[in-house]
Symmetry: D2
Subunit: 334 residues, 4 copies
């Protein structure tokens, strides 16, 4: 009964079946039939023409997106707790060749136009400082909050007003779509987004994420960047097939719904006093004393401590509802 | 009946089975049990203590190896036809942050101590030129030749004498081991090798190669470089499991033997007049007129043209022997 | 009567005379006699063996120093207001190939062991975050404060305890030496410093700063980095000659004393109520209303606004004492 | 009597006088009046609107130019003997963040449309190779040859036909202008040039070269790149003043004429049998046996050996004609 991470979960059956189907001779790299369909399938999903590239990790998707949008002498405004700042060992700096991340505030790793503008205001407009080129948000955030379509659009409007590109790290984009009920389009390009890192791995994939450009002309250079980063897998059909399997039949939505529902059930059990933040996606941050945490672990539940007196629990597409109910009861019983 | 590339081949059954077995909840990134075994399994295979990191592509393995061995202001001596020079879109330059490749000559993409020394001799020893830090060879070469243990050791000795690190791009290392009958150790560290890119994908894997350091202290920094390159897959157990499945039961040798044997059979059929180079691994380069090439294609054989009047044919672990015999007959009949 | 910047000041007579003397045929780059003396002259000055490289700017000195001390996947702890963070357009990121600056707090751009340790504490020790490799301070600080020998040593001790290299940005090192009365050694290597950017340009030079390594083995790679950055001037003797001219006869101390004294006189005139920070070097930060600032400007004094109701005044080696007294009187008269 | 290098020569009197005049308080960086005039003065000189940035070295000018014209995943075609390939320790790779130099042939370091096209033909048009973005030539070449306006235009036409930018390394541009009699415009933008590294240091400056963009929109980003490379000197007026002093009164042409004339006189003395290449600028490459070389050195002449039985002699703006005649006599007497 592990609630460590959605990265710990297995791949869902549809993905495994797709890998088996793709396991035949086909053209190498991205010359296969699965890869060839990505632009079209995602243009349909997003209701506009997009350009899409598979990659093996969300970090690669984020870093390639930022490199497409920010010159080496530029800056990227993001939340202080953003994955690109804290969890990628400097991948944005590596891929952009040294751009700077400028950190903004906000509860639950969530920016507002005000906090983003405050971060922008710290940058002098002269040649001695890297100038802002990109605004990047994560939806759902690293702390399990969700930007609504309107909230996203407000940040997109700020970006456009300041001449910035707008990037959405959607490692848990599915959870945000499910939670908000908004369309993928409404949470991306209709809100001003230029590029989206669309996560599949945490949501039931094995090793496949997708970089989506809403300005398709950005794809050409990104293809070279992907290759030179060692991310053009030689049997790329196995990545494309995973992604397509999750789009077809709306598996991606089904999986995210399951993860969100499990988290919501735990949140209800925990009650408002224990919850550090609202639970809007598939992550819970709760107050537990060390003794309480130990008691839960003794009952077989695994999770990360998240600072003193705090714990993080993550649900996933396959979280066992029986385990959820047992944990819910255990939390109530604390 | 396609002879385009060993990248076009499917994954072998043992790999697919290993993926199924690994498809359960486990610790993310490389915290799982499969990944934890790599250092030990490959230390056994190489008969010395090694440090091993999975990556998703051979390009990533090469580029991480070179970045570990060469500073940004250094140079890497390699063959003019090396994969790192011609087929990675500048990945070595990206990962090393701008090191230079210095190109050496040799038949069939194969260096000799003499050609490597000649390339080194073009570099002045002063601060106005990047100084050599690494010698890199590919075994089997990009043209299907193989370095014997002695040939490798001669190049390793040159490297050491000049204070250079020695890297082996082993995208087709298995084919070289099978062909030479030498031990993995004899073709790597015993010959002076510091790092080996050990390929599994072309040899029946789905998406897994291995970077092996024979100076284990090089691993620590490489872990950060791998992460920041977006190559620390979140469900890394699926890579480690592929690799382990191919080592166990010597699947990697069985697969390479099959590919080499298929190529040898074609070479025999082609005869010495058609062969541009000896066939020592799983690639054939033959002389065919455009008319002859067309005739083969009309019979259903696919392959790449490789310059005027030349063709490349690649066999793989699963090359159908019936197809090989049909093609052999077709070549003889030209 | 301009108090904008010490960069606006001319070069001092000794420097101009040295340029004239150096204006004869000599070996190019750093093969001349002046350049050859730097290691020895600065080993004497610092009372230990050092390696010294001239560069044309303090930004180049800082960036080369940091590149020598921090790998691309590392982090540098510095003050939020440090020049390397705010005034070099990402030069540290460029030269280190993407290292991260981790920002610490402190009054007047001055770190303490506590604030530096607090910044370090934000970094998790895992592969997902760039790990700290360098602690960098500026002495005198960007806000005109000075680290004493003891304060420097306390930070150096913290650095060593955490396994970090210790860099001192000494764009105004002379002002710090003069103010503290400490020896150059006491403010650098005796306090744990590994590298010092020793500024001459702001202190009466024309275009010469010096990168001093207290671990002389760091010089070899830095020579290549300097060349590849385009900082190996072809007539380097003109840089070395400037620097030597300022060391001989203690011109550097005389110039700094003059600048500090002028600032002190202004500080006295301003009085504690107006002073935002103590004046310890050659910069004043004072409270003035917009109306007061305008009145000063109408009397012919030029200076930068530094936020609402605040102004920065900088003195230099050649600040006219008559102008200082006039300004002092004008401030008193506000 | 040294014929080592034009970098060894002193600065000319006009430059020294300009430094003295500029030695007064003025705005820092490039905010001064001298720097402000560069765009206009060079737009006049080139008979079109240009954008101009001073830098302290030709290497910086070249590397900034190439970074403006070539993405990290691109390639630059240049001669095998180009300064950017052999004498800048990888500065182009550093500033472009890892672009590749693709080497072309040609006598005397001089490209022709045929040799440039042959180099381009080695590049496959696919994502596995860095694609060409720039053609770069050096005029006068590293071996003292000169491109005429027509020869330059032929290469510019090739560049445009292939969609490449065109860069001219003009470290000795003045020598080429003087030799060809062509206008600066004819040897640059009228021949298709996008950027020119315009050298002053070798031609009598102290430490000032100029990067000229014929597409002025390239300047904006280059300003940030220059700053982040540490090349925005804080007292930049001293660089601008040098450059202006050499343009005014055509000092740059006078100096180059003197250097070229001295070389021509030596060439005549050497005679066609000794000359390895025609002498078109200020460099001579001659055949001398080791014994002959020693005899010249015993008479007090200094120069570089340039391979077995070969020597390089460089003249400069201030080469003493008496020394030239003495050397000429000594060569004749060999």
């Amino acid at each position: 009964m592990r609630f460590f991470s959605d990265n710990a979960a297995p791949a869902c059956p549809e993905v495994m079946a797709a890998l088996a189907r793709a396991n035949r001779l086909d053209t190498a790299y991205d010359g296969d039939g699965w890869s060839a369909r990505l632009d079209s399938v995602f243009s349909d999903l997003f209701e506009t023409e997009v350009a899409a590239l598979w990659v093996a990790t969300g970090t690669a998707a984020n870093a390639l997106a930022l490199a497409a949008l920010c010159p080496p002498h530029g800056a990227i405004v993001c939340h202080r707790d953003a994955h690109i700042q804290n969890d990628e060992c400097g991948a944005p700096e590596f891929y952009t060749h040294g751009a700077k991340l400028v950190l903004a505030e906000g509860i639950g790793a969530k920016l507002t136009p005000e906090t983003a503008a405050a971060a922008l205001a710290t940058i002098r407009d002269d040649v001695h400082q890297t100038q802002p080129h990109v605004l990047s948000i994560t939806n759902a955030t690293e702390y399990g909050l969700v930007y609504s379509a309107d909230e996203t659009a407000a940040l997109g409007a700020l970006a456009k007003a300041r001449g910035l590109a707008f990037h959405v790290d959607g490692a848990r984009f599915a959870n945000a779509v499910v939670r908000t009920g908004a369309s993928p389009a409404a949470l991306s390009w209709k809100a001003g987004g230029d590029a989206l890192s669309f996560g599949f791995t945490k949501n039931g994939g094995m090793s496949a994420d997708l970089l989506v450009f809403f300005r398709p002309e950005l794809k050409a250079a990104a293809l070279y960047r992907r290759k030179r980063a060692g991310h053009l897998l030689s049997k790329g059909r196995f990545l494309a097939a995973q992604i397509l399997a999750m789009i077809e039949g709306d598996v991606w939505l089904r999986n995210a719904r399951a993860a969100n529902a499990a988290a919501a059930r735990l949140a209800e059990a925990a009650g408002p006093e224990r919850l550090i933040l609202p639970v809007e996606a598939n992550e819970l941050f709760i107050r537990v004393t060390p003794a309480e945490a130990q008691r839960l672990r003794e009952q077989g539940f695994d999770f990360y401590d998240w600072g003193p007196g705090e714990a993080r629990l993550v649900t996933s597409w396959d979280t066992d509802l029986a385990a959820v109910d047992t944990l819910a009861a255990a939390i109530r019983a604390l």
